[in-house]
Amino acid sequence: MPERLLVEAVNDALHVEMERDPSVLVLGEDVGLLGGVFRATAGLQERFGHERCIDTPLAEAGILGTAIGLCMAGWRPVCEMQYDAFSYPALDQLINHVGRYRWRTRGKMAFPLVIRMPYGGGVRAPELHDDSPETYYVHTPGVKVAIPSNPADAKGLLAAAIRDPDPVVVFEPKLHYRTAKTEVPAGEHVVPLGAARVVREGTDVTLVAYGAMVPLAGKAADALADDVSVEVLDLRTLKPLDEGSLLGSVRKTGRAVLVQEAPRTCGYMAEVAAVLAEKAIYDLQGPVLRVTGYDVPYPYWQIEDAYMPSVERVVDAVRRLLSA
């Protein structure tokens, strides 16, 4: 199996899916001539032409709104938002149209569009290149949300998103775009939406994570390995949530520490905690702890490490939980 960086896996998925389905097209700022500021779309315009890989004007609501119209004309558009915090102008189209238009046609029209974007912090970038905006998307009815944590999933989840009959948002952890090459199946590779994955088995506590927090959780598990048996669950899809895997793991370990880099209040792990508080209450041997970003603007990058969940904070939470 070829080894690829995460961003290369994204690029691979786009090539394979555009090859497979001539109704898939890509649009966004700088996705064509440049191949994207992270080069996630490199080569697409040469390969599939200017009509299937389009450099748009600088207007995110315009991109998403146009994509809705493209769906109506029978296309399957894949929109790139250049960065997390630059996707907010498109939230109006997302909430008021992307998530509702199928319903509005009583299921007669499909809106198989994909929004993909790099997300997350830790990259020493200027302000507003660091957000984890998944809550805004997850809370919105009518859209699905996936966040891969490694190259193979980045390819497989994006492929699944492109093939899905519903709108899907895929957040790619930009911190890990180029951190490691790992094996990615060549050709068609689909990781079904809604299926979490136990990354590492354990019996004392479950670390629940997604995206960039999965490798971090793995490191925390390493740090604890001497005396704590840690299970790491990679949710992979936030909506729909794989409740079965979540509850199965927590039922086994009896303890959960939830890790997200987004601000805490109403972050995605609030939902996971709520599900546990409803459906695993009798299995829990202690409080459900969250290790999250804080309820503050993402900070100056010189101190971003203090904001981001760290191995130390995760380890501390696990130890607190075990001694509770």
């Binding site: 315009g62 146009t66 119209g69 109506m72 004309a73 109006d92 009583r106 007669k108």
Partner: protein
Amino acid sequence: MSQVLPAEGGLRRVIGDGHALPDGEIDLTPEQHLALYRNLVLLRTYDERSVIYHRQGRIGTYAIFWNHEAMQAGSVFALEERDWIFPSYRESAIGLLRGLPVSTVLSWWRGHPAGWWNPKEWGVASICVPIATHVPHAVGFAWGSQLKGEDRVAIAYFGDGATSEGAFHEGATFAGVLKAPVIFFCNNNQWAISTPLSAQTAAPTLADKGIGYGMPGVRVDGGDVLAVLDATREAVTRARAGDGPTLIEAVTYRAAPHATADDPSIYIDEERVQEERDNECVGRYEAYLRRLGLLTDAQAEDVKQEALDLMRTGIAEAEAEPLADPGLVFEHALADPPASFADDLAELRRVIGA
């Protein structure tokens, strides 16, 4: 490359006033004239009956389009069946011109699921409630159709107020760059609820905005159905020729409340309203047809009766719709719904016993 024209100064006009202003001409057969008249009357009847139905509590809040009929009927008449219409709430009944059942539109205003149609069936997108947000949809559709080699034009309807929204600007920007076969049809009724045009923009005219997107801006008398038809025909021709989008500003004055919930007496110029009512668009066209000998009393009576009959059947059908099943709350949200929907619905049914 097509040329970007500065916005026209005066309002384009075809219908005269029977006195000082001479009637113009337009390329339409007598049958077409009659069909257009029928469309106008249908919309007028729909609108007037709806206000009554609302008062009778048979439909909910309703956005009145009285005296906007010429803009809707005139422009749609310039389209082919394969072209797509993107209406705002002000054009809620524009689908009638494509054969959409009256009961469907009434059901929409009754908040009944039967009011939601399949856009592909009629070439009419869903009614857009949030201002201007459907403008980029029309652009994407038009451009996407062109990419597929389909000869389809899209037309988006919106108001004067809508031109202030970012969504209008972004849609127009995309259309200009993509040379999408799309028409931006602005119903300038000079009010956005209580906000007059002067508080909406400092642009000399709305048509002047066209140049900012590299598209011609055309101003037309919105009460003159033939002028509207004429301007839209030109825009359709440009679009089909690959010359890109056109912005049409149809000028009128809102002669009715914004919607049934609104009381314009607080803010509107009643004299100007009266003037507009005295010169309303259906009557103007009717007088024109009579001047040209294209419409007899009997024909006019028939057309009106036919429209009334359609309305009667429509409201009866809408009211005969069975109560919607609560299952519909979940049914169309996603093509591939999560398991939780079934659980939620089962619980809901258990609790409410339905």
